[in-house]
Structure formats: C-alpha cells, structure tokens
C-alpha cells in the first residue's frame, strides 16, 4: 500500500471540483493543489446527506497505518447517485485507490476526491462509471 504523488494540477477536474465544493463549503486554504493517490482498505462508507464520505486505512512507506478521510466536496447523495454511487459502492475490507487533493496540513490525512476521477478497485477498475460533462 503506498502513496504516490502526482505532479501537476488537474485543471478541469479542479475547476469542476471548485464549482461543486463551493456549494456552501469553501475548500480554500484546506487542500493542496497537487493531487496524490492513496491505496488502502475501506473502513467505512457513509452515504448520507449532506456530504457522503469514506474512511480508508492506509499503510505509508514507513509502515505506519493511518486512517484517511476521503470526501468528494459538495455533491450530496442525489448528485452522487446520478453518477452511479450507492450505499453499496464501498464495503469494509475493499481495497481501493483514490486520487485527490490532500489536506495542506498533512497530519490530518484527508483527501478531496472528485466525481470525475472516481476511486478504482484493486484490479484498476473504476468503482462506478466516471462522470462526464457538467454537473
């Protein structure tokens, strides 16, 4: 299980994310601009309003285990349902890889994912069909 840093900003994704996340929750000053990948085991998937979130247990390069919080910004249940998510999308024990922007404060272990770049399972398949077009 490892964390991979990807250089460069996903401009389109970031803009999409901003438009979604600005739905009453500004992310300015919370998340970095660069995205990273985290791979780990699902602990919990909370698929409720106003903002579903995921908890993933990740072992870092030092062998230490941390629980990462994965949120998707503004989208609520109905928006995520349209994208194919459901309460059964993630189950405890699933191994997934998430791409997103990490929190600026690295000890908080948070990642802001996007609906345009959905997590993938251990076979590399998107857990749901990636979103296309505008929200």
């Amino acid at each position: 299980m490892k964390i991979i840093k990807k250089m460069g900003m996903l401009i389109v994704t970031a803009l999409y994310l901003t438009s979604q996340a600005s739905a009453h929750h500004s992310v300015q000053g919370i998340y970095q601009e660069e995205s990273i990948e985290i791979t780990g085991t699902v602990i919990e998937w909370v698929f409720v309003n106003p903002h579903p979130f995921l908890t993933v247990e990740v072992v870092d390069e030092s062998g230490d285990t941390h629980e990462w919080d994965v949120s998707f910004g503004g989208p609520a249940v109905v928006a995520m349902t349209r994208r194919g998510f459901s309460k059964d999308t993630f189950n405890p024990g699933d191994v997934i890889t998430v791409t997103g922007r990490p929190t600026i404060n690295e000890i908080l272990y948070g990642v802001l994912g996007t609906l345009g770049n959905v997590p993938v399972d251990q076979d590399g398949n998107p857990v749901v069909m990636p979103a296309g077009g505008r929200p």
Binding site: A23, N49, P50, V77
Partner: protein, 253 residues
C-alpha cells in the same frame, strides 16, 4: 309636473351597475390569469448554464455594507447553522443543484425543495398575519397572480448567519425581504428573485434563472448531523482559545 326621474329609474340602475362593473375591471387592473407552474422543476440555471454564476454574492461583493463585512469577519464557520442540518433560506436555497416542486392550490402555493427538505407556503388569499413577534427561517410569504405570473413577497425572516450566502458567511437580518416572480416560458419556468436587506446590502440584489421540467425531487434529503459536522473536520476554528466546538449531548441525561 312630470317626474322624469321615476320613469327612468330602472335605466339609471342598470347604467350604474354597468359602470361599476366596468370600473371594477380597471380597478383590479392586470389580468389575473393563472399560469400553470405546478410540477417538478430542476435547479434554476443562469444564462451560461451554471447554477451559481449569476445568483450568488461574492466574498468581497461590492453590494455588502460595512456591517455585513464586520459580521463576515467575525463569524466562525463552526457556528454556522448548516452544520446542525439547519436549512438554507431563500434566496441562497436556490443556488444548490437540486430539484423542487410547485403545487398550486386555491388559497396557497406550496413549494417543496429537495435541498434541506424545505417546504414553503405562499398564501394567496386572506390568511391571518403572523404576530409581530413571529419570525421564520423561510419568512412569511404572500402571493398573487398578475400578468400570467406568480408574484411572491416574503419577509419576517429570522436573523440568519448564512442568510445571504453560506459559502462566505454573509448574514441576513430581520430586514430581509425577497420578491420572486415565476412565469412560464414554453416548457420552462423562469423566475426572477430580488432581495433587499438594508442592514447588509447597499442596494437591491436581483437575478433571473431558468428551470427545466424534472421527473421528481430526487429523493429525501434526510440530513445526517454526523455527516454534516464531519465537513468541519479539516476547518480550523477561528477562536482557538474557546472550548471545543464539538456538539455536546448536554440534554441526554
């Protein structure tokens, strides 16, 4: 002497009645044709297709009073009502991408919003006015039909720290008044919203958006307090020396 008045009395009455009827038509002025607004509608979109570009106040909006800026600077995001699942109020309620439903009845029009499970009643006919001391998150609304449109005026809003914009801590006062105009444009629904708040806005703030028909509301909102407060996990409190802002189950015992 012949009393001409007596013999022409029926004519006078008839003529007078006609005059009164005609005058009534002009007095009540514009047509009260009722537009068909009922049904499910998608989020109102701006001319560029977005749902926020034309209908939100910016963080440093030039229309904000100094008083609004002072409140904005002081408000701690942790204290915002939305994190306890308190609903957005109009007009900010319209800036989230969720459907709504309009139900037209004889004496009222009901609005059902997918966002925050909000239900608003717009009174068309005589309805007891709220007491002076009654205030409401969504205000108290009166409506009328005019020129094939529904005109709604709403006041009696509670003070709301997220009342004008929940993203940028722009509050609204008990002086807030919102006027809405709903009318059909073919299959679509156009609505214009004008907000005044003499405490926090230097001038009236208006926008117009277009809704297209929707199939349904998209499901219940059913806000989870846990999910709501979870959003604050990475937001640093503004007042670090104050006690933890975590919710206490104070009344449980």
């Amino acid at each position: 002497m012949i009393n001409h008045f007596n013999t022409s009395k029926p004519l006078v009455v008839t003529f007078t009645t006609m005059c009164i009827t005609l005058l009534s038509t002009f007095t009540y002025g514009a047509s009260e044709e009722i537009p068909d607004l009922s049904g499910f509608w998608g989020v109102g979109r701006c001319p560029d297709g977005s749902f926020t570009s034309c209908n939100t106040l910016s963080q440093d909006d030039q229309r904000l009073t100094n008083r609004a800026r002072a409140y904005q600077a002081a408000i701690d995001e942790y204290a915002q009502p939305k994190y306890d699942c308190a609903p957005m109020a109009i007009p900010h309620l319209y800036t989230d991408p969720y459907n709504y439903r309009i139900e037209q009845l004889e004496d009222r029009v009901n609005f059902y919003y997918a966002k925050d499970d909000v239900v608003r009643t717009v009174w068309l006919k005589d309805h007891p006015e709220p007491r002076v001391s009654d205030f409401f998150i969504q205000g108290h609304s009166h409506g009328r039909y005019e020129d094939e449109a529904l005109i709604i005026t709403t006041d009696k809003f509670t003070f709301d720290p997220q009342g004008l914009n929940a993203d940028f801590q722009i509050a609204s006062s008990t002086q807030k008044q919102v006027t809405e105009r709903f009318e059909r444009d073919g299959d679509d629904l156009m609505f214009k919203v004008t907000t005044i708040d003499t405490f926090f806005l230097l001038e009236p703030w208006s926008y117009e958006v277009r809704s297209t028909p929707a199939i349904d509301l998209g499901g219940e909102w059913s806000c989870s307090p846990r999910s709501s407060r979870h959003s604050l996990r990475f937001v640093p409190p503004k007042y670090n020396e104050d006690p933890s802002p975590e919710r206490l189950e104070y009344l449980q015992n």
